[in-house]
Symmetry: D4
Subunit: 235 residues, 8 copies
């Protein structure tokens, strides 16, 4: 985790509808990420091109298959992670020694239920694209807590844990009570009735009685992935 | 659990400010209970007197020490359960065979934290005054879940379980995932920040992913106690 | 209601996207239930197969006709309860003496309006699949309260009552004031304007002034059915 | 109920901190009413004086005993309605024939509980000061609904009914389902936990499934009283 | 406004999915009204038939054109009020002298904007079907308040006023400040952003500083119409 | 309204607990203002001293009489505006030609009720201390709208209007519908029941159907004053 | 900014479904604007015609391409601003000297992200149609704040600034802290999870710690445009 | 950051009202922390004693001066951190080499305003008691953003940053946009009006458009401190 002086450089590229922040890769350790919703296929492809030209690993989140088609025309090596709804184009130079690192520090991605998996995949793929190793443990919610205890050996190998849960979102507290490493809690909009589209799980996680938990936005797998990556020291 | 024909008898006693429902003891299996807040000492004492005259066990909830003094003048055998904030006057004839029942069917009252104890006491004392046996297991919240597992032997003896928790209220789901008997969940207003005076715990419990849980109002230990008693068959 | 020692056995079957909890039938008295939304037809059919192999009665809730088609290919005896949106495959060995029990202990399912019926059917079918007898009394809301009083004889036969109401949800309090047995209140999302998708009915039921009421999630007929079953002693 | 042309006359008296609307007695049928909170004793006394000078019946709501002392110095005939928290000074000329009317048209004020009485008194005293007859029926909430049916004869005499209830506020729907006259529902802030200071009762009443109900603000006994008076034809 | 003894007669007709309350016409002064959403065409037609057989004026609200087609097959005289989304079948015997009454007591229906008209039509048609006269004044919201003042002559003829407004809902207070008759306020879900589907207008109307206002549910034109009719003395 | 290049100068003075932003007077046209709540008397006096030394007009808002005493020891010319809860120390050099400007451009401060006056005074005194002229028109809410029309001549002289209202907050829309100049709406926490401490008025104002309105925070008279001042061109 | 006496003239044109307020152009400085949602193509075209006849610049907001087609049949010079969803028909006589003014006073429209652009265009086009000059600076949100600082020269030229942001809406505070001119903040419904359709951004902007900010409704670009125009002195 | 196998050891000490979790120091890297509110002085002192006996560094949060007196009687070396409201008793053996570590990895604690300092102190003292080095940068909120840029050199030295802000809470996004290390955001209840006791800041921070931010509960300085400590690798 080397410190760098923060400079207010301004390496912007102005596409009119967007100002691409090429400086971000220096400031944050990875290039700007394209959030697809609300952008046209053409806009996504244009921004993708500009970012790829700078030899960055390019990531586009919440991408539809149509978004991918638009990108894939220009970039045959672009990959569509269907469940995670992510388009990626990897530039190995960016994370040259990620292999060796992978064996050492691992991010565990845990879900309470099956329906939480898309958010989990967004988190897991994000962390992997940023050069990290992940371990996925899905469907181990508190209704049958022995499913969780069954996996404690794998969980205890993690350097950071991402816990993803909808409905009552209780899993984050339980996990955080058992481990020594940081837990990032992601409430999901899974549930019905009084789950109020994730509000219930969000409040549960904010009020966790177990220390060592912090929360990101509802369904924000990407945010959790970046936070986990950042905790492990970024680049 | 004998069924009775429900009759619309009307054994009311009218004190002006209150209509005492003497028929309730037949209809519900126990006499009307005095909810003290918003009533003067004189009003409480007057209602107490009317209920005692009918040879009922009299219960007054959310009672202050001042409320108790007003009652104790007339009823030297009245008892003040300080932590539960309950005044009681027991009439043993009402539940003659409660002793024998006590050994068979037990209500377990569990709290997540120390600060939840007053609500738990309200629940436990209520069930005991209605003739039930209780087992109190306090401060076993999910931040250190082995504290709960440590008590599984005792918990597995219960016929009904009352789980009382504030903050994220996750304990109800965990317990309900482990047992075969009904779980009554009581959210408490304990917590700070985004607990919003019990709303967070209430939503958590409403959204429980474990089956066999139902919820009563925030801090409503009395309601949980009556529900548990009712489940065990009332009188 | 026999007590069993709770053991932390771990009879899990891992399908990758789901960890089937075969131990649940021992712990909770019935097998894991498949919540269909968010699962593909293939996933539902796969889980169904694994559960059926263990000779459990299999239940899938919130199932679409398409979900049913996928299941029916493999299980010709599977039944689709259309209004309740439940797929079931009964294994009579699981509840061998349910017949005799049926005559003794009955669950009454009451709705305030016609539009609450799908939730009521989910509750009623659930309890029946778990081996209980039910009595359905629909459309007796408080706008014409004599409709309710008209049915008091039938209601007074119940050992547990499930009250299902949307809009202002007042029926639960009225019923609980009349009976001696536990009332499980289910708010529904029926209503418009300030009903806020069931929030109004939920708050009404949480604040019930009548003792002996506990609440499950909005539209959660399944949860109410399991709670009623659990109260009657499970298996 | 005579119609009058509405004129935009401007009979204002300007006290600096308040503009007294002397025209209101012509426009609305009764003089401006003093809402005491947030006004000093001197301000209240000053406005009281200006209104009394015009030979109106003067009404001050939410008045403290201290407010009353300030007024009573100047007006020995002023009356303090303690439970209703209202100061009044009656000018009989204003409603000369209220006597005869009293026997004909009656406003029934019903509460669910004892704690709702202060709001009920505010409503009842207001209607009486405006020249109407009232019948008070207190503590007949739905937890023991036979208490209500016991009073149906008196209730059926009313021309307008005011129903006042906190907690789940279900009483308004039940009453409106039984009568032919307009029901004004007043939610109160009585209750605890998830009553959220009257929000629960307000939503219940807004969503009433019974026709012929309209709602005023939480704890707004005065507003309900004026609405009832207005329905009966004002002056 | 004749008083009648309220009897708990029970003239119910049970269709299984609905219990038709034929007694309501005696108790409330008009027959049960069919709320169409959530009912099938067949169910609507069946209930319609049962009600028509009793020689009541039949009203079905929130009806789609498809609902109407189903009804019109059996009842050629049924009318579809398109903007109000109401199906009606008038039985003139029910309100024999409504003609003469029409000239005397009028209900004024006022909207703030053009988009509020469907709710206003639901209110107006309801009152007319119940035998009242109405005057419609649309699009006179407070953004150009002279539009309202322009109509004061007509407004001052009303015996009851229904004010319908979305967005900030301020019109109800302004009207109530000008008139002597009861104002029924109907918040609508018209608006965007922070109008939160009518919540903003609802709160505005609940907090009206002008006396003589009571509020019904969001978009509830029917409820407002019945309330106005009830205020005018029902039948 | 001269434009200035915005420079990122950093004229900070660091008191440890506060970083005084002396550059603000250049950037914003007036010096930093002291928000008293949560600061000790000593802290307030210390910051006051630092700001006064720079020859600025010093303003402290939400000041208690105790806060004033602490300041007055050191600054005998400091003034306490009691109703506005503001301490001020005027430096006339800062706004040398405010006199002449006063005759030209006027800010009208209007309240709906008497209880809104403290917020209005905070707004009015703030604008005056920044060198503007104000006209106060209090207690002209929509319950008696002729009170407002009575003042239209004075209102039409204003260059900016601040409208302050609690309860339903309808006044802002009405005023904005009548004038050509910008209206700044300030919701207040005045009201009870469903006013929810200003939320009702805030939503009303946000949803204003009249163009030319923008809203500041609940009870934020200071913010409204500064906004009005800024609209008039700052210094 | 000349003051005019406000007269209560009533130049209304009544189309039944709408009352066109031709006086508004005198009172507010621009003609009534057509809000399209909830109006039919015919209604929009009819109102458009009436307004155009009066030689006003006609503006219709939230217009669909279908709405435009209906208008364009009659008005070949009508223009559809696609991204802003505005139909306009300019009448140059209305703002004869707007050219000269344009060089002097400029409105800067800033967005945090690309997805906020439609709201920004609504604001920008509105102000331009009312005769103002704008400068658009898009996609300069706080995640890369140097993008904002990069544009400070252009921003400092503005006489009024409109800041448009969704998600956390922090940009308004940052901008207001840097400039001397009024900032109008527009929260947008852009964001996901806990942005709650703009509520998060709205609250952020209401609570701005920087003085000189006022807020309009979520996504209300039109309202922001009119407010900016009004601040610059209207006509 | 060494991994340890998680064992379900059960080193509990049962005080009746509390179950002390001595195993936590092994599982989480530090001993149980005493949350004082809702506990009596005697209870706090008793738990303090039990924890101290195990040679742990003992920490009690939200402690009043009275709580401290009770503890100080038995532990003369206990320290009261007044602004942070923390009682501590350091056991240097627990973190023997914290000195050397201090020079390498630093936690920066930043506040937006002066009023946020108590929460910041709770965070800073917590991290220091756990053996970390902190740098406090207070009162650099976005209203004067150059105050923040002025400190970028110090901020860029941090390995983890805690950002504490009330009101609109925008500072977290701005900081996260500038740095490469994890940002823990703490909303505070500072603010008024529509800040709704921290809800506004909480939502702002949850919706941060800058990656690398996660949020803890309102005013939860302790939680932020532990999270920062955990990120740095715990012990």
């Amino acid at each position: 985790m080397k410190k760098k002086k923060i400079k207010q450089t301004s390496e912007l590229e102005d596409l009119g509808f967007a100002k691409i922040d090429h400086h971000r890769v220096k400031r944050k350790g990875f290039a700007e990420v394209i959030f697809c919703p609300g952008k046209t296929n053409n806009q996504i492809a244009a921004i993708f091109k500009k970012l790829a030209k700078k030899k960055n690993t390019v990531i586009a989140t919440r991408a539809t298959p149509e978004n991918f088609k638009a990108v894939a025309k220009a970039f045959r090596k672009a990959v569509y992670h269907k469940e995670a709804r992510i388009i990626s184009l990897i530039n190995l130079k960016q994370f040259p020694n990620s292999k060796s690192k992978k064996t050492k520090r691992m991010i565990c991605v845990i879900t309470a239920g099956t329906a939480d998996i898309p958010v989990a995949e967004e988190a897991a793929v994000t962390t992997e694209l940023l050069g990290n190793t992940t371990d996925r443990i899905y469907d181990v919610g508190v209704a049958g807590i022995h499913r969780l205890f069954n996996k404690l050996d794998r969980i205890s190998q993690a350097s950071v844990i991402i816990v993803i849960a909808g409905m009552e979102g209780a899993l984050a507290s339980v996990v955080a009570g058992l481990v020594q490493v940081p837990v990032i809690a992601v409430p999901t909009s899974i549930g019905y009735g009084a789950s109020f589209k994730g509000l219930s799980a969000l409040l549960t996680m904010m009020n966790s009685c177990a220390p060592g938990v912090a929360v990101v936005n509802i369904d924000n797998g990407f945010g959790a992935g970046v936070m986990a990556h950042t905790i492990l020291g970024g680049k």
